[in-house]
Amino acid sequence: MSTHRFAVNVTPKPGILDPQGRAVEGSLDHLGISGVSAVRVGRRVELTVDAADEPGALAIVERLAGELLANPLIEAYAIESIAGASSTSASPPTAAPATAGERHA
């Protein structure tokens, strides 16, 4: 068994209305900031998975992301391995790849 740490980044799909993003954009004037557009507000979920190996852990996160964390009708998600956070009981920790997997629903 090994332990893997992931982050799932959930964002509104392109073209989907994002009132939160629009509200953030609307506040920029008050900050005296210009030149910022296309603000999209999403959600980041970090989690730790115990599995036989990294692909096994990733498969669990894929299922979790597709069925629960994101609604595929309106949201896309991207899974990233959080570098340095993974550990393996059988061998000392090695540098995790920057991106373990990425898929857009």
Binding site: I16, L17, P19, Q20, A23, R43, L68, L69, N71, L73, I74
Partner: protein, 246 residues
């Protein structure tokens, strides 16, 4: 014989008692169904009531979707059983894929609790046949995520198939524009307030008919929707075509 109709109670449901009351007023025997029990207790129809199931964490309705009762409900619906989702119940049905589309954050970003006008697009469905006319029907909304969304192809198909059940309308009774924040309070696409599935046995709407089901509440325009469900359920029992929940 009095028809038995289930009302699912999730942690955070807050319109379950109102719904029970409205069902009793309409002549049904309400049966509360706790979300952790898979049994539907042999009811002839099920209402998913309004509220904030599981605190609306993550997305409104999504956690509730995985309750034991929802697995039974999906089988019940597949077998032709009548299911109506009101407000949060509509969000749960949409998350579960039992009705098409999704409910996004209101465009104003505000929680909205007030009366709206809707019209019934059809009076020949299991959920609307007891209405005397299409409306406008006055009833309250109380939600933060009620902006109906589906892609254009889905919206076209819903309209072509007559599966848009209710729309927000203005004072003149005309379909509200998407940017008319008075008549279409949450900015729903094509002013859609309620839809049903392809088979016509599962429907959801954001406004609360149960909160507008007797004159003392300020409107009884919603009573016809509750009564439609009760009568349809009674008829289904008579025809013995409802799958009895185990």
């Amino acid at each position: 014989m009095t028809v038995r109709i289930g009302v699912v109670v999730f942690p955070g449901s807050n319109c379950d008692r109102d719904t029970v009351h409205a069902l009793a007023q309409a002549g049904a025997e309400p049966v509360e169904l706790w979300h952790e029990e898979a049994s539907l207790q042999g009811v002839a129809a099920v209402i998913l009531p309004g509220g904030f199931a599981y605190g609306d964490y993550l997305r409104a309705g999504v956690i509730a979707r995985f309750s034991p009762v929802m697995r039974s409900l999906a089988e019940f619906a597949d077998g032709g059983g009548l299911v109506l989702g009101i407000c949060n119940g509509f969000q749960v049905l949409a998350e579960a894929g039992l009705v098409p589309g999704a409910l996004l954050r209101n465009r104003s970003l505000r929680f909205l609790g007030r009366e709206v006008s809707i019209s019934a697009e059809r009076l020949d469905t299991l959920f609307t046949h007891a209405l005397t006319d299409a409306g406008p029907l006055r009833m309250p909304i109380a939600h933060g995520e009620g902006c109906y969304f589906a892609d254009d192809a889905t919206l076209d198909a819903l309209e072509a198939d007559g599966r848009v059940l209710f729309r927000y309308v203005d004072d003149a009774g005309e379909r509200a524009a998407e940017d008319d924040r008075v008549a279409n309070p949450n900015g729903s696409l094509r002013a859609i307030a309620g839809v049903m599935n392809a088979a016509g046995n599962v429907a959801g709407l954001m406004p609360h008919p149960e909160r507008a089901s007797e004159a003392i509440l300020g409107s009884e325009d919603g009573a016809g929707i509750v009564r439609s469900l009760v009568e349809s359920a009674a008829k289904a029992v008579g025809e013995r075509r409802v799958t009895v929940g185990v």
